[in-house]
């Protein structure tokens, strides 16, 4: 549907989605069972006196009518004021800003790696002569990619960090060396590998299917009739067509991809957003949780915008507004 919509309508659609996301973020703590104070204080809430309760509510502005709270909430988002983290005692935005680069590093590297590896494997799937070999390749790729990332992380730590001692078990940089290229690389290796492994099958499967579609098309037969080798057919004819569905897939599953970082960062104690979120949840730091949430929604929308732009670059038919996806 995206292709036929005008650009203005698309932008309007994204703004609506962002607004819905912010609203959901606002409503979530208020919709969950119990009083907001229960939510804030957790199990100890029962021991509060009613005066303490009212004071708490007032502190977070929760004693005012819902609509007023909502207005206040939206206007502070517009001012980029996400409140103050309870656990860190600093503005949420600052806390997030300190952690964001690490997650970007992990996710960025993993997506690029998974994209390249998954695509190469998909090409290999079509390139091998025997159906048995390609089936075995598919089963293997899917199996290794289906191993749960936290488990892969644990095994990787046990093997490479503990037993062999080649790589660090946790963190993003060593205390002695500080943030140097070598140290960052060293620490990112296992988390990136774990994340990448989990992303590969989805790239592989989408690439395999879209390469297969492309290989059935007239231009492939034409190229072969001109003497193109199978490799050339794959890379020059089928691959340019297959890129678009993969980009689409990334955009659609970006929310799930980001979610995966919570697990991996927790296993490796990697100081990114995922771990921050997990800590925030455990520490009942609800302004922080809300802030991270909002950022995640925002980045998914951003990824979709980037994918839209990229798709138009990848398929000239979209440039004049033709619905080529049909």
């Amino acid at each position: 549907m995206g292709q036929t919509m005008t650009r203005a309508a698309r932008i309007a659609g994204y703004i609506v989605v962002l607004w819905l996301g912010a609203t959901a973020n606002f409503l979530l703590p208020r919709l969950l069972p119990g009083d907001p104070v229960d939510f804030l204080i957790g199990d100890d809430a029962g021991r509060l006196t009613s005066a303490q309760r009212t004071a708490m509510l007032a502190q977070f502005g929760m004693d005012r009518p819902l609509i007023e709270q909502y207005r206040h909430y939206l206007s502070s988002i517009a001012r980029l004021d996400l409140g103050t983290s309870l656990a860190h005692g600093k503005p949420v935005l600052k806390v997030i800003a300190a952690r964001l680069p690490w997650t970007l590093l992990l996710v960025g590297c993993s997506i690029i790696l998974a994209f390249v590896i998954g695509f190469v494997l998909a090409c290999l799937f079509h390139w091998v002569e025997r159906a048995r070999t390609s089936s075995a390749l598919m089963c293997t790729v899917v199996f290794f990619g289906s191993l749960p990332p936290f488990w892969v992380g644990m095994v990787a730590i046990a093997v490479f960090a503990v037993t062999l001692g080649w790589l660090p078990t946790h963190g993003a940089a060593s205390l002695e060396e500080g943030v140097t290229w070598g140290s960052v690389f060293h620490h990112a290796l296992l988390p990136v590998a774990t994340l990448t492994l989990g992303y590969i099958p989805s790239v592989f499967l989408v690439a395999r299917a879209s390469l297969e579609d492309a290989l059935g098309e007239g231009y492939v037969a034409l190229a072969r009739s001109h003497g193109a080798t199978p490799l050339r057919v794959l890379l020059r004819q089928a691959a340019p067509i297959a890129l678009r569905p993969i980009v689409n897939q990334f955009a659609m599953s970006f929310g799930v991809l980001l979610g995966g970082t919570v697990i991996v960062e927790t296993v490796f104690a990697y100081p990114g957003l995922g771990l921050l979120l997990y800590e925030g949840i455990l520490a009942l730091d609800f302004p922080l949780v809300q802030g991270v949430f909002l950022l995640l929604v925002f980045s998914v929308v951003l990824a979709n915008i980037a994918a839209d732009i990229l798709q138009v670059r990848l398929d000239p038919r979209l440039r004049i507004g033709l619905d080529a996806a049909a």
Partner: protein
């Protein structure tokens, strides 16, 4: 066909295995998973196959109960999310309009929700009870299912076979249940598999973070405790942490492989080497095919084909579809990986091609033997510009220096400007794309050119131009040219010799004019008869002047501005009216108005004397069955997931006729439509039928409910000439017998003149003339 099915089967097997384990878990488990059964941290032993954990619980029992939890969550969440996603996606796509827009913005929003963090937050604050967990998983994952099903459903809404259902008076609900859902079902299954896979991952992740439902033994939970006890520091992880991890991995693998689409098998494989003997070539010819027999297991396509070509010679090869023309060309090129070559050979300048190693054959393609494919218009890569595609071909021989001048020369010789190098295929017309494909051939100097229906899809003037161009080029460059077509009249002027291919054999050959004047074979006679101008059928003056269809002063406008203006048209009982006009004239709009698939903006449409605007609901649907619409494309107008008898019986089923009566009626309708023996055809799957047979099935479906009016919208434009005339004869005979009113919509004037009593011409939405034939 079993090729490439492997992964799906592995997936199904893994899922079945895990589900069995889950169901039988309590029976298989030697201990209660929560019971203290032995000393903690025991390595595997006879009593405890997987050892014990820190609480002395038996790890095998824990594993088996964990499988139960994961499988239950996966199935419940996936079923719920698939149902919700299908409902919203298919519903929105099918309904379109505002509903669609609102539903899809909602889907967009749900797609931006970071699923795992959301589940985490809810699980932490609200407690991860199993029902809540399933609800949250459904809530956060259905959107993608909806997003992926929507375009498919939207495409089906306007598919010919769905429109045909509507024209027969089916309700939308019945269409959804009987057609849309069955056609979407493979995609729905794939979505289900993906959702189950995601649910397993989420649940185990949650349990691993210690936020799962601690009431249940789970794999993720086992790993959480294992991790908390630093099990990875010793050897215990081998039996404590490995099995749950593998369990999760295998379950996810099972679902992921189950969701893989049905693979079509390798397209890039080399052709098979002939198994049988090779005759001796005649050295006199540049190019020769000798005694070629090719087939697939169980059926032979080519049975001993002999052909030869000289330098600069043009040979026309004619045959109806299914005669084996394309198989012949593909075998010569070596592009049919699955075909078995039983015997025979192909020689170019004395060397045999079929027995050459693939490497050498590949070098010959394009350089020595070139090919212009059927539907060459769709043979350009849509995402690469013309220049890049030409450059690739021109550079195949390794000569990088002269590429640009050669491309420019090639474009020039097909009458195109070099400015086109920067253009993309979609920016060119069909005829121009055809020329680009020819230019690709001309970038090099092949000795033989095989043109397989190279002009299909072009109108007759363009087709002639392309054939003139090809024959001229081939004489200039001393290329041997094999022109292949189903249409004899197209080739007669351009060939030096003609050969007729029928069911895999060359049945006759000779100079075109002699062959056309006195064909000796049956196939040749049929092709020659179809190529000659058609004698007119006698005019049939209806004795019964009843008007079956009456459009008076109808206006209709599409959102694009096109439409009909003040169109009046009548069809009498037993009369055949031709509606003739170029494409875009509004002919199909007339057909759709007549069956109330569209509503006129002004004017009235009367069917059998009743104004359609005054009818609603069931009364309208019943009334519409007095008319029947036959579509242009026999491949899209029949639901490919049903059998012939089901398809033909559809109008009776909708009319509420019982099953036995339907079965008898199907047989007689198939016989009337000329499908013999009807009993055999009734049982066949529609995808095993040729285009001509399918169009006869469509005719049988039209006849079965004894309508008073048949509207046939370009019914023969996709059929070969001999098949086309036979079909129209059949319709005409039935019209006379049953006093049917026929509205024949066509762009082919000659066809209308031969078969219609009256011809109405339409152009740009306005009537331009009414000709009563013979008057």
């Amino acid at each position: 066909m079993s090729e490439g099915q492997g992964p799906r089967r592995v997936g199904a097997l893994l899922v079945a295995l895990m589900v069995t384990v889950a169901i039988l878990g309590p029976l298989l488990a030697p201990y209660d998973p929560r019971a203290w059964t032995a000393a903690p941290f025991q390595p595997p032993s006879l009593h405890h196959w997987l050892g014990t954990d820190d609480m002395g619980q038996d790890l095998l029992s824990v594993w088996l109960y964990g499988a139960r939890h994961s499988v239950a969550i996966a199935l419940l969440a996936a079923i719920g999310a698939t149902l919700l996603g299908t409902l919203v996606g298919a519903g929105a796509g099918y309904r379109k309009g505002q509903w669609d827009f609102v539903a899809m913005r909602l889907v967009d929003f749900f797609l931006t929700l970071p699923t795992l963090p959301l589940v985490l937050v809810v699980a932490f604050y609200a407690g991860a009870s199993r029902p809540l967990l399933v609800a949250v998983l459904i809530f956060s994952s259905w959107a993608r299912c909806a997003r992926e099903l929507r375009p498919q459903a939207a495409a089906l809404r306007d598919a010919d076979f769905v429109v045909a259902e509507r024209a027969m008076g089916a309700t939308e609900t019945s269409i959804l249940i009987r057609h849309i859902i069955p056609v979407l079902s493979p995609m729905i299954l794939a979505q289900f598999a993906r959702l189950a896979h995601q649910a397993v991952l989420m649940e185990s992740g949650l349990s691993f973070l210690g936020l799962g439902d601690s009431q249940w033994v789970s794999w993720g939970g086992t790993l959480y405790y294992a991790n908390a006890r630093a099990v990875f520091l010793g050897n215990a992880w081998l039996w404590w942490a490995l099995p749950p991890g593998l369990g999760i991995g295998l379950l996810i693998t099972g679902f992921a492989l189950l969701g893989v689409g049905r693979p079509r098998g390798a397209a890039l494989r080399a052709a098979m080497i002939p198994s049988g003997p090779c005759p001796d070539p005649d050295p006199a010819y540049l190019f020769q095919i000798g005694d070629l027999e090719v087939g697939y297991p169980g059926r032979t396509i080519l049975q001993g084909v002999d052909l030869h070509l000289d330098e600069g010679e043009v040979l026309g090869l004619v045959g109806v579809s299914g005669a084996g023309k394309t198989t012949l060309v593909q075998t010569v090129l070596g592009l049919l990986p699955h075909a078995q070559i039983h015997r025979g050979g192909v020689w170019l300048a004395g060397s045999e091609l079929l027995r050459m190693p693939e490497r050498d054959r590949r070098r010959q393609r394009g350089k020595e033997i070139a090919w212009i494919s059927q539907a060459a218009m769709q043979s350009l890569n849509p995402v690469r510009n013309i220049g890049s595609q030409l450059r690739e071909v021109a550079g195949m021989d390794g000569d990088r220096q002269s590429i640009e001048p050669r491309i420019s020369a090639a474009l020039e010789s097909v009458g195109l400007s070099h400015d086109l190098k920067k253009a993309y295929p979609h920016e060119l017309s069909g005829g121009m794309r055809q020329r680009v494909v020819i230019a690709m051939v001309l970038c090099r100097r092949p000795k033989v050119l095989l043109a397989d229906e190279a002009t299909s899809g072009l109108d007759s003037d363009r087709a002639r131009e392309i054939l003139d161009l090809l024959t001229r080029l081939c004489r200039e460059r001393k290329m041997a040219l094999l022109l292949i077509s189903h249409d004899l009249s197209l080739l007669e002027r351009h060939c030096d010799r003609l050969a007729i291919l029928d069911r895999g054999r060359i049945v006759e050959s000779g100079p075109p004019f002699a062959l056309l004047a006195a064909p000796s074979s049956v196939a040749g006679q049929a092709l020659a008869a179809a190529a000659r101008p058609r004698p007119r059928n006698p005019i049939h003056r209806p004795t019964d002047p009843a008007i079956v269809l009456d459009l008076s002063a109808v206006d209709f406008t599409y959102s694009t501005g096109a439409g009909l203006k003040n169109v009046s048209l009548q069809v009498h009982a037993g009369e055949s009216v031709g509606l003739v006009g170029p494409s875009g004239a509004g002919k199909t709009t007339v057909a759709r108005l007549a069956l109330r698939l569209l509503r006129p903006a002004r004017g009235s449409v009367q069917l059998m004397g009743r104004n359609l605007a005054a009818l609603h609901g069931r009364a309208l649907r019943n009334h519409l069955r007095q008319a029947h619409l036959i579509f242009q494309d026999p491949f899209s107008a029949l639901p490919w997931h049903q059998r012939v008898k089901t398809i033909v019986a559809e109008p009776l089923r909708l009319a509420g006729v019982d099953r036995d009566t339907r079965a008898t009626a199907v047989i007689s309708a198939l016989a009337e439509a000329g499908l013999t023996p009807p009993e055999r055809y009734a049982e066949r799957n529609v995808d095993t039928l040729s285009g001509g047979e399918r169009q006869r099935v469509a005719l049988a479906r039209a006849l079965i409910a004894h309508p008073h009016l048949i509207i046939a919208d370009e019914p023969t434009s996709m059929l070969d000439a001999p098949v086309k005339w036979a079909w129209l004869e059949r319709l005409d005979a039935l019209r006379r017998e049953q006093a049917l009113g026929v509205l024949l919509i066509t762009h082919d004037r000659a066809q209308a003149i031969a078969f219609c009593d009256r011809i109405v011409t339409l152009d740009k939405g306005r009537l331009t003339g009414v000709v009563a034939r013979g008057a």
